[in-house]
């Protein structure tokens, strides 16, 4: 019995990150609650982080540039979550709802 697929390598991490990314994308497209959209966005960013770290470890292990990029993504996503939630709260004051379909202020 060949167990080579169970021995983890770079491909495993990439496929896992792909699956997480696709689930996040699915959530962004289907969910009606803005906060859930924001959560799925965070999920996608995490998938990207896994990719950065895995590529760094397998392809260029002695220089940790991938880690630095992951830290920058961490920073940007924290800022994005703060501003996003603030916008959601301001929108909720205006419209009394968090349904994405209701936010059509920019519609002609």
């Amino acid at each position: 019995m060949d167990l080579s697929i169970f021995n983890i390598g770079l491909t495993h991490f990439i496929v896992l990150a792909t699956i997480l990314f696709s689930i996040g994308l699915l959530g962004i497209m289907t969910s009606r609650n803005v906060i859930r959209v924001l959560m799925c966005l965070e999920l996608m960013m995490n998938a990207v982080n896994i990719n950065f770290v895995a590529f760094n470890n397998y392809l260029n292990p002695e220089i940790l540039s991938g880690h630095v990029f992951a830290i920058f993504i961490l920073t940007v996503s924290a800022a994005e979550a703060a501003v996003g939630l603030a916008i959601i709260i301001a929108l909720y004051r205006q419209k009394r709802t968090v349904d994405v379909d209701e936010f059509n202020l920019l519609k002609l």
């Binding site: 169970f6 021995n7 983890i8 390598g9 770079l10 491909t11 495993h12 991490f13 990439i14 496929v15 896992l16 792909t18 699956i19 997480l20 696709s22 689930i23 996040g24 994308l25 699915l26 959530g27 289907t30 609650n33 906060i35 859930r36 924001l38 959560m39 965070e42 999920l43 995490n46 982080n49 770290v53 895995a54 470890n57 392809l59 260029n60 292990p61 002695e62 940790l64 540039s65 880690h67 630095v68 992951a70 830290i71 920058f72 961490l74 920073t75 996503s77 924290a78 994005e80 979550a81 703060a82 501003v83 939630l85 603030a86 959601i88 709260i89 301001a90 909720y92 004051r93 968090v98």
Partner: protein
Amino acid sequence: MENLIFWVFAAVSVLAAIGVVFHRSIVYSALFLLAVFSSIPAFFLLNNADFLAIAQMVVYAVGMTIVMLFGIMFTREKFMEEEPGRRQRFYAFVLIAGFSLALLLAAGAFYTQYQVVTPGSAFIATIQQDGSTGLLGALIFQKYLLPFEIASVLLLVAMVGAIIIAKKSFTEESAGLKYPVSEKEYINETAEGMLKEYYEMGRPGSKIPGVDKAADEPEKTDNEMAGVQ
């Protein structure tokens, strides 16, 4: 051992991610998100990224989940438990599209050949003794110093911006610089004005039970009034 850790955490994170998307209650979604964020540091550790694993745990699993829960509490409504069956066709279409995208990307990743590099023994010794934090710090503060400073400015700007956006409104009135309306309307129509009037002038504008005696006592009938007289 490594394999076991990977497969267990991969299963947990994928199942919890599916829970984030498909659970009816948004609060449970946030808790599933916590599960995803807590299992992702395992993959970082498997890739020798110890500092990043801890940072991920602190920023995402603790900070982000709490912020999300606050957002949910500020905007919670009953209807948001999504009702099924409203957009079935769109749902099915997106499900198929997402699944095929995942399949395509996964197949691409699976069939690509990578040139895996094994690190030198000196590097391995450093990582095993000191971890990656020192190397990472040297990299951030030398090669990537400018982006790092820009990122810190970004965090500051985001913080100030979030406070300003989430504030009710920033005007002279809210800052207490002047009366929002004319003084008469201020006293008669705002709760603050009514309280001020109540306590300063000792003349109740309305009957408040428990505070105002007139509201607690039952109204006297005409006969009682006559009897007293």
